[in-house]
């Protein structure tokens, strides 16, 4: 079976690098092809990387609280760029402060994300969900 390709990165002006490095390492070990853009990634960079590598998923991390602002319009830009329907996942600490996650999730779904994850999502959950989304399990 062919390797699936995942673009990873931390969006916006966010420099939280630890989770990003760990996710990239763990997913690679799990057999995925990882294109890790690191921290401070713009919407355009995700899209360019996904197009270039023919990616199957874009995995957006945001830790610093401005995720809600930074993620606006990503789905639309994907659509325009010819990435219609590509799964967009978001996780980390997506908003400022401790908020009811059901509401946060709704806001991200409304923005066109495929899934949004609460703080502290384990790598096991991340891997299991990716496999499901990619029809690997």
């Amino acid at each position: 079976m062919e390797k699936k390709t995942i673009v990873t990165g931390v969006i916006g002006a966010d420099v939280h690098a630890v989770g990003n490095k760990i996710i990239a390492y763990a997913l690679e070990k799990e057999g995925f092809n990882i294109v890790n853009l690191g921290v401070m990634v713009s919407q355009e960079e995700y899209i360019a990387a996904a197009l270039e590598t023919n990616a199957d998923v874009i995995l957006v991390s945001s830790l610093y609280g401005h995720g809600e602002i930074d993620c606006q319009g990503l789905r639309e830009k994907c659509d325009e760029a010819g990435l219609k329907g590509i799964p967009l996942l978001a996780g980390g600490n997506l908003v400022v402060g401790k908020q009811d996650f059901a509401e946060v999730e709704k806001r991200f779904m409304d923005m066109g994300f495929t899934k949004a994850y609460p703080p502290g999502t384990t790598i096991e959950t991340t891997i299991a969900d990716l496999k499901e989304i990619l029809g690997l399990s």
Binding site: A13, A17, G65, K98
Partner: protein, 485 residues
Amino acid sequence: MELKNRKLTQDEFFKEREEVLQQWPTGKSVDLEKAIEYQQGIASAKRFGDKLAKAKAEGVTLIQPRAGVALYTEHIKLLQYLETEGEADLLPSTIDSYTRLNRYKEAEVGIEKSKESGRSMLNGFPAVNYGVDICRTVTSSLETPVQVRHGTPDARLLTEITIAGGFTSYEGGGISYNIPYSKNHSLASTIAHWQYADRLVGIYEEAGVSINREPFGPLTGTLVPPCISNSVAIIEALLAATQGVKDITVGYGQCGNLIQDVAAIRALNHLTREYLDKFGFEDVRVTTVFHQWMGGFPQDEAKSFAVISWGAAAAVLAKATKVIVKTPHEAMGVPTKEANAAGLKATKQLTSMLKDQSFVEIPAVVAESQIIKEEVTCILNKVEELGKGDYVQGTIAAFEAGVIDIPFAPSKFNAGKLMPARDNSGAVRLLDTGNVPLTPELKAFHRSKLEERAAFEKRPVSFQMVVDDVYAIGKGFLVGRPHGK
């Protein structure tokens, strides 16, 4: 002109200043003379450095939160609450991420959106957008000294505005606010920007106004070996002193092993003094700050209280001058004011309760701090060598060569070859020293400590240990053991 570790001339500084004050409209309202006058009017009880000096003399540990929200009226209420209900000894104003990256337009949007939505859409206080007068409204609404805390590679305008705005302490440095906080800023550029900030503080000093300066000790907050954070802190102290700064608080982020944590503060305290003296800065005052656990936090609030308390205990037993306090919301997001006050109160309980106990001179601590001192000496000797005696040139070259190397840093100017891992007691050791120039004896020491762990865990020393150690705390542990260990 080549960047060197020398005091900026008046000409250089004021020329640069013209540019800086034009970066955003609020820059225009900074009048240095009036600002000095304003600062001279701030009473000693509200001056950061004075309160630290008093605490140091008494041997007590002060407590300080992190806090900042988008709307200044809310920000004042928040700080007042932390002062009364939270029993904070020192206050912060944590700056939002857009301001940190000089994206003042986006900060403006954040302020507007916060007004509309009624909740803070920024993760901190956008001081530049508000300007000098509103900063003064903030600092003068409080009984307690206030510090600017941020993570800004180019903080020149922020420094101008906030010090004119009545803040009496200022965090950051050309290394510590670059490598952990930035991807693309060169060290040369940020060191230059921080020479400016330090020189500004020096100018205030020369006018009789002492502003406390604090290099950011914990760096990436994750498995940073004490020799690395100590080296960076000492370099930044030297750089600041060169620009005329007279009051410096050097810091360290808790690693979790009590002996190592106390030893790290001990070594930092001694070495900063030694190096400042060596370069003729005997008149610079040195205090220390201990940061409660800076890595990933447990989700559960009760468990977070335990991590907070353990940090508080270590800070007091190390006799740090102050401790930076986390909150039970740490894993979730920017805390509510109640959660923030709760973290403070837990910490206050232990800074009071344990104030008469010290671990600074117990043999295990002395031995561990001896090792840290040797390591730092190796690193700083090499920095001096690379810079041919110049600490700025030496630092830039040291990062290029991986002589100083910060784990998990986002910066592309960081080598990323050093690999830390915990030993069998949870102390942070070097699995791979990369290009950090330790002596063969020191390398062998680190290796033996990790072999001890490997033997206990019945597996070889490997990178998997590093990954396991990062995950460990999420599962409640310090050392990431394989299953069933």
